[in-house]
């Protein structure tokens, strides 16, 4: 068994750090990466500041198998991702002929200088992430860094276009047992179950629903059968505490 590939997500954009926009790209990619057996080790939101973007890209691309960035590849003055990625790699920015050709068809007479900026990539990048129903401008891959748009529907399409280029690991499955248990009542028993199933990661997530405290015990593993077994034990444990368990199988 080889080590599972790892990943980091970089969300580039002042709109997230100002509180204006709710990011949803992390959740989408995180779920997909788990299913692909790629271990998401961190996600960072960085501002539209060249030094911050360059530092984050260079730190993460050395540390992880893959880096996925979203945001900042549009035509306006605040779209600085490509310039920063190029600087991070010490490469020039070039207009990619395939991208220009594609956008020329898409925009007909409207392909101005601002739009042509969206055809620019760092030297050596391949414009593999071609799915963009909004502007036809590509995302791209440079070495192990995938550079994608920020608009969620485009980011998702670009991510899916990247999937065939990724080395995958054993997919991580998950299942859960929900119940109106208070974490503090079941914590000791849960610790014992975590020790019984060292190959399953048991997470305990409390929440408040209709003013009632609920706890969701989530089991994650590459081994589905082991998850099912662990969930049965968790459900039985909840019943012992007088809590009706609701199991969702992997």
């Amino acid at each position: 068994m080889t080590e599972a590939p790892t990943a980091c997500i970089l969300i580039i954009g002042d709109e997230i750090l100002s509180g204006r926009t709710q990011d949803t790209n992390i959740k989408y990619m995180a779920g997909r990466l788990a299913a692909l057996g790629i271990k998401l080790k961190e996600a960072r939101v960085v501002p539209d500041v060249p030094e911050a973007i360059i530092a984050a890209v260079n730190f993460c691309r050395v540390l992880y198998t893959y880096v996925f960035t979203t945001g900042g590849i549009g035509p306006t003055h605040d779209d600085i991702t490509t310039a920063c990625i190029a600087r991070a790699f010490g490469r020039k920015v070039l207009r990619h002929p395939d991208a220009v050709k594609k956008m020329d068809v898409f925009y007909k007479g409207d392909l101005n200088e601002a739009r042509l900026k969206m055809a620019e990539v760092p030297d050596g990048a391949d414009v593999a992430l071609i799915e963009n129903h909004v502007t036809s401008a590509p995302g791209y891959r440079i070495e192990n860094v995938f550079v994608m748009a920020g608009i969620p529907s485009i980011a998702q399409a670009m991510f899916e276009a990247a999937v065939p280029l990724l080395r995958q690991g054993d997919p991580v499955f998950s299942g859960s047992v929900d119940g109106e248990a208070r974490e503090g009542d079941i914590a000791a028993d849960l610790t014992a179950l975590q020790e019984k199933y060292p190959k399953v990661s048991l997470g305990s997530y409390p929440s408040v629903r209709n003013n009632r405290l609920c706890t969701s015990i989530v089991a994650r593993s590459t081994d589905k059968a082991l998850i099912v077994q662990a969930l049965e034990d968790v459900a039985a444990m909840m019943l012992r505490h007088g809590v009706e368990p609701k199991t969702t199988k992997p």
Copy 2:
């Protein structure tokens, strides 16, 4: 004018990195920090891995005026934030007598060992973040690091309890002009406006609504009057492009 204080958010939790849970704490705190004049420089999601948490805390607490963490301070085996924060500061973990006293009243006879874990803080921390309607367990402050719960309603209450302890800067206001403009059509004019208003940050955020491309131009500044002026110019510019502008004043 002194430099504005800075901040970093650390979201601690495998549930975000597995794609199970949509984080909303970043957006809440980001908006509040902008209003408080505290510059949010980055947000990170880190896994439930001690080395990752310790490294992130120690990196960020040196770099920024304030660090806000959410998640991992509950009673179960996967709640490891306090142990990690203590290691990051080279401190012991102690049971805080005020927290024990408070939880003893809250839980009456049910205050078991698992719950008492929630009364533990690194030596020297103050249990200032007392608002917790769910478990009565406190969040706490240790030097410039604020450690809060992950459940959004509790995280928000704890953040508000932290506000009086924060040095504030000039609040950043924002307003916007929305319209069915395509970014590429207005990019050049927008660059000129950004140059005209160097003290206003103009961001351009495209989106797709009802299958139509929209662009939201957001102006941010500590100077409200300047925002209003810039937005008027942006609206006039959109009109010149045949787009009906919808202005939201700061």
